[in-house]
């Protein structure tokens, strides 16, 4: 997380990094797995609209498997339409 609190770096299920920018600095401490909803900018960063922290208190979230699942659903747009 950047010192200004307006930028943080996430790494995905394949170990690739991406920068997420916020319009307002972070008001809380965040850690672990986050789901960010936002727009891709032309600097290849994500302008964050909202984020949610995944619960990992009972079981850790398997990010690699989730990544594989995403690839699969994108292969079948007829069974998983994005409206």
């Amino acid at each position: 997380i950047h010192p200004t609190g307006k930028l943080f770096v996430l790494s995905d299920g394949e170990g690739k990094h991406t920068t997420v920018e916020l319009s307002e600095p972070l008001e809380e401490e965040i850690s672990g797995v986050l789901e960010v909803v936002g727009r891709v900018t032309n600097q290849a960063t994500i302008m964050c609209v909202s984020y949610v922290q995944f619960r990992e208190d009972k079981s850790p979230f398997d990010l690699e498997i989730y990544n594989e699942a995403l690839k699969i659903i994108h292969e079948f747009p007829e069974y998983f339409p994005f409206g």
Partner: protein, 232 residues
């Protein structure tokens, strides 16, 4: 021929919004659905005297209205409102009123393990694919198939055909020979042994037994002659 849905089918909100209504039933690309499960994040929760109205967002479309009826006789317990920002699994019935779709939930559970979300999205693809295949091959002899990882909400419906590439090399070879046999009484075990020099009689017999129990072949004049159910 329609498959009557007696199952609960995992869906995306985008699929539910796209579902067509025919008389009393809904159809997603010809697959009939009624009871569904969706998984998403609660964006809004409004408590009314007789029900709680949630808006659940699974990111495939705009958040969907989910109504949960509240038992006014019961105090507490069932009527705890799930706070916005929580991921939930909703099981309910699809409804359409004045062209607006919504769900009437019989169960709303906050997710405790986010890996369930990964399972859910895969189950959606799997369920719709299998249900669609069942429709296409409704004339086939129903066969058993194993489906990995069906959740606690139940399965997807009756038989379907196993993909041919689920067979071992030996089984595929035996099946292909039997399929291509033009003789009315089918292929005999002796004939198979003649054609398949690399296979022992016991391997051939094992393959034939497996194929027969899976419904790919059936015995004709006697237990030594087989024809394919899949005749070309």
């Amino acid at each position: 021929q329609r498959i009557r849905s007696q199952n609960i089918v995992p869906c995306t909100v985008s699929q539910l919004l796209a579902a067509e209504q025919v008389d009393e039933a809904f159809r997603i690309r010809d697959v009939e659905i009624s009871q569904v499960t969706i998984m998403g994040i609660v964006r809004h929760a409004e408590k009314a005297p007789t029900n709680i109205l949630y808006k659940v967002d699974d990111m495939t479309a705009a958040p969907m209205d989910v109504r949960q009826w509240v038992d006014t006789d019961e105090a507490g317990g069932e009527n705890v409102v799930v706070p916005p920002g929580t991921y939930v699994k909703v099981a309910g019935h699809l409804r359409s009123f004045q062209n607006k779709k919504s769900l009437v939930a019989f169960k709303i559970m906050p997710l405790e393990n986010m890996n369930e979300f990964t399972t859910h999205i895969l189950e959606i693809v799997n369920a719709h694919m299998i249900l669609r295949k069942n429709l296409m091959s409704a004339s086939r002899v129903p066969q058993s198939f194993s489906s990995a990882g069906i959740g606690d909400m139940g399965g997807y419906g009756g038989g379907g055909s196993l993909p041919v590439n689920g067979l071992t090399a030996h089984q595929s070879q035996v099946l292909n020979l039997i399929k291509n046999c033009p003789v009315p009484e089918g292929m005999s075990l002796q004939e198979l042994k003649l054609q398949l020099h690399n296979m022992s009689m016991s391997t051939i017999k094992q393959a034939v037994e497996f194929l027969s129990s899976e419904g790919h072949i059936y015995s004709t004049v006697d237990d030594d002659h087989y024809k394919s159910t899949d005749a070309e």
